[in-house]
């Protein structure tokens, strides 16, 4: 057991928590939080696991950096979409049925 491994295992737990949140929560912003937490978990595994044996490894660190930027891009886009969706429909989750089809699919 080394420090990186501890964090990798913590990452696994965060993944589990995030996954459950992503599936179970209904509010879209909460889902987004869950996504970010799960992402953090994945990143911890990604860095922790290789560093368990070989010490600090810049490659996964660079990958995680890329991953974080992708995640923030996705999160920001999701926020835009969610806010606009909320503005138009008054709903903050996907479970309720939308209002009667008022908009043309084309």
């Amino acid at each position: 057991m080394t420090t990186p491994l501890l964090y990798a295992l913590a990452g696994a737990l965060l993944c589990g928590i995030g996954l459950f949140g992503l599936l179970w929560l209904r509010h879209l912003l909460r889902k987004l939080l869950a996504f970010n937490i799960m992402g953090s978990g994945v990143f911890l595994v990604m860095v922790g696991l290789p560093q368990h044996q070989s010490g600090p490894d810049p490659v996964p660190q660079a990958l995680v950096l890329t991953g974080i930027v992708v995640a923030i891009a996705a999160t920001a886009l999701a926020v835009v979409l969610i806010r606009r969706y909320y503005h138009l429909s008054g709903m903050s989750s996907l479970e309720d049925e939308p209002s009667p089809r008022g908009d043309d699919p084309e």
Partner: protein, 91 residues
């Protein structure tokens, strides 16, 4: 030994904040806890000898994402009743 304790506490704090961020009743508080989670993550990255990620996490995870979500929460929270009423009027 102290290091282990520190790491153990940090991991515990991470897990607790994660759970709290997802299941706190108040959305605003959830986002604030999430920002705290981001800060803890940054510390964790330092512990993993990844200062680059720590910086990025502090700036992005704790800062930017948090602000973005806070802004969204305030919008969704404050307008919700009003918008629903408006829609009701219109229909």
């Amino acid at each position: 030994m102290v290091e282990w304790l520190l790491d153990g506490l940090l991991v515990l704090a991470l897990l607790v904040t994660a759970v709290a961020a997802l299941w706190s009743t108040n959305l605003f508080r959830a986002v604030v806890v999430f920002m705290a989670f981001g800060v803890l993550m940054a510390v964790a990255w330092v512990r993993l000898h990844a200062p680059d990620i720590a910086l990025a996490e502090a700036a992005i995870g704790a800062g930017l994402t948090g602000v973005l979500l806070l802004d969204a929460v305030s919008h969704l929270g404050s307008h919700s009743l009003e918008v629903q009423k408006q829609r009701g009027d219109r229909q």
